[in-house]
């Protein structure tokens, strides 16, 4: 179909592989390359098997291709800091799944439209994708003086990147609660739970606000959940907004789609699904701009 984005994935780890399976299904993407740096990578093997071109030259392999529209960077914060300026120079739209945060934080259901003309957008964190839109849904009803979130994820779906950079997770998520969620102040907590069978990703959102608005808040949150379900089908309200002592509490559970990572990895699924949603919207936007 016309308007398909020529896409590449940089970083063939768990996230890159899950993203590959989602992009292959997307009517707006033509996945033309999976690039990594380790020749024995499982992700590169899987991509080759699917008939996708592969490269072990990392960003150089990506830039060697002509006419790329979009690159999904699922490497790490440090590599992305080097990739970002080169992708920008080449005029390629970069979707950053690392905590590098070169570009603005984006949650598709909240602020994607504002940032489609930027060449780099950042996906915050998994906890941010799950909770920031709920805070936004509350703050569009009534001011939120303070938002706090607790993301609990299964130990087996927290990779070495998350583990080594746990402070970045809490700090990046906190920032997004304020800048995207609209809270005046915020805090983020992450907990790893090793229970077997693994637990689903769960998120608790607390917001200090005018709890007399609970009906309007519930309606707004309900609408937001529906908006997110359009790109993350396993996203659901576990505990509906509940007014308690000057604050509203809500809980979200995320079941993954199970594309590559198991269903308990809702934390990883939500970020790959959000990335694809961004690409699809960008494709429509680009089409419109050209047409």
């Amino acid at each position: 179909m016309a308007g398909k984005l020529r896409a590449a994935i940089l970083g063939p780890g768990n996230i890159g592989i899950d993203l590959m399976l989602k992009l292959l299904r997307s009517p707006y993407h033509e996945l033309v390359l999976m690039a990594g740096i380790y020749p024995d990578s499982e992700g590169l093997r899987m991509a080759a098997k699917k008939g996708i071109a592969i490269s072990t030259d990392g960003i150089d392999g990506v830039l060697a291709l002509k006419n790329l529209d979009i690159v999904y960077d699922a490497t790490g914060a440090k590599p992305h800091l080097q990739h970002a300026p080169r992708l920008k120079e080449a005029g390629i739209f970069a979707v950053d799944l690392t905590p590098a945060a070169v570009g603005p934080y984006v949650v598709p259901a909240v602020n994607l439209e504002q940032h489609l003309d930027k060449l780099n957008v950042n996906l915050i964190t998994c906890g941010g994708q799950a909770t920031v839109p709920i805070v936004h849904a509350i703050s569009r009803v009534t001011p939120v003086a303070y938002a706090e979130i607790v993301a609990t994820i299964s130990s087996c779906s927290a990779g070495p990147g998350t583990r080594k950079n746990i402070d970045e997770f809490t700090e990046t998520t906190r920032q997004a609660l304020i800048t995207v969620g609209g809270a005046k102040d915020g805090k983020a907590i992450i907990i790893l739970n090793p229970a077997d069978p693994p637990i689903l990703m769960r998120n608790t959102i607390y917001a200090q606000c005018d709890t007399a608005q609970i009906n309007a808040i519930s309606q707004s949150v309900g609408q937001m959940v529906k908006d997110i379900q359009r790109y993350v089908p396993g996203y659901r309200l576990k505990v509906a907004p509940y007014a308690d002592d000057g604050r509203v509490v809500a809980m979200i559970e995320v079941t993954g789609a199970g594309d590559y990572l198991p269903v308990y990895s809702g934390n990883l699924d939500i970020i790959t699904a959000a990335a694809v949603a961004i690409g699809e919207r960008y494709a429509q936007h680009k089409e419109k701009a050209v047409g």
């Binding site: 609990t152 907990i191 739970n193």
Partner: protein
């Protein structure tokens, strides 16, 4: 005489028992008493450590740094220590705490997740802090697993590693098996942090020492999460009778209990029904007051909530799940 190092956590774990409401002045008064009684290391702050002040765990009466500043002003010879749970506290917070004379940091992770503390231990060592790896909820892992995780902490540069019975769920044999396994795996000193939900905080501390631990934690009047900790006055007397040197003056530490700590307590530190349920179920000690509040709100028995928290294999810090469990138990009742 063999020496045992005591870390006092009255002003950190004890905060759970008073919903984190001690004031900086109250902390300073107790810290001065502990210091004069010969306590060598004093842990200070919100019950959940740096950054713990939150809706999830309860806001403290003051900021981490107000507490540290107040305590630093009065302490003459003791080391000031902070707890840092990665995922709650951050290196930035530790960096700020260092400005108040903090000399020791205990990096606390769930017993199977030591690797989330690698950054924090590394930062502490680079900045000349004493770094302690603190393996919470040690009852939930086998002795081999505890030893493997202790070894990780040693590899990151930790000076000491702790077997921590956060739920007060271990029997003396469980403690011995874990400390013994850790002793065989690492070359650094080993500590034990007990809770009294099964009435074993002192007995388990002795068991840990017999198995090779050279540090144990205590709190004055036992003030702490759940049924509280190893009561420091009792521990001081027991270790003296066992021929072990702690450097703590028994009369003075007793007086700190009666004159300084008792007046601050919200309730007697006993093994109430819900606290016993925590030890029996193996749930995190600080769930106690949160479960009691939820039980009251939803017309439930706190023990049912805590047992369910144990069944769901919850870990430290999952206070938010209490509300979820209470709502589902209340729904099932209707």
């Amino acid at each position: 005489m063999k020496a045992i190092r005591i870390i006092d956590t009255t002003l950190r774990d004890g905060m759970h028992a008073v919903s984190h409401q001690l004031t900086p002045d109250q902390m300073a008064a107790v810290a001065a008493g502990l210091d004069q009684a010969g306590v060598g290391t004093i842990e200070v702050g919100h019950g959940d450590g740096l950054g713990g002040s939150s809706l999830q765990y309860g806001f403290a009466a003051a900021s981490d740094f107000d507490y540290l500043a107040a305590v630093a002003q009065v302490v003459q010879s003791a080391r000031i220590d902070v707890l840092l749970i990665p995922g709650i506290g951050t290196i930035d917070m530790l960096r700020e705490a260092m400005q108040y004379g903090v000399k020791t940091v205990r990096v606390a992770t769930h017993v199977t997740e030591a690797d989330v503390g690698e950054q924090h231990i590394g930062f502490a060592k680079k900045n000349n802090l004493e770094a302690i790896g603190f393996l919470m909820m040690s009852h939930m892992a086998s002795p081999q697993k505890v030893a493997e995780q202790a070894k990780l902490f040693e590899g990151y540069g930790a000076d000491i590693v702790y077997v921590t019975d956060s739920a007060g769920a271990m029997l003396p044999a469980d403690v011995k098996a874990r400390v013994e396994a850790v002793r065989q795996a690492v070359g650094i000193p080993i500590g034990f942090h007990g809770h009294n939900n099964l009435g074993l905080a002192i007995g388990n501390s002795l068991a840990a020492i017999e198995a090779g631990a050279t540090l144990v934690d205590g709190t004055v009047r036992g003030l702490g999460a759940g049924a509280g900790n190893a009561q420091l006055e009792v521990l001081t007397a027991v270790l003296a009778k066992a021929g072990l040197e702690t450097g703590i003056d028994l009369y003075k530490i007793m007086d700190v209990g009666e004159e300084l700590v008792e007046p601050l307590m919200h309730r007697p530190q006993i093994i109430g029904n819900a606290a016993l349920a925590i030890g029996y179920a193996g749930a995190y000690g600080s769930f106690l007051l949160h479960a009691q509040r939820a039980a009251e709100k939803f017309g439930l028995d706190a023990r049912d909530i805590l047992l369910e928290m144990g069944r769901r294999k919850t870990v430290g810090g999952q206070e938010d799940l209490i509300l979820d469990v209470a709502i589902s138990l209340a729904g099932a009742k209707r």
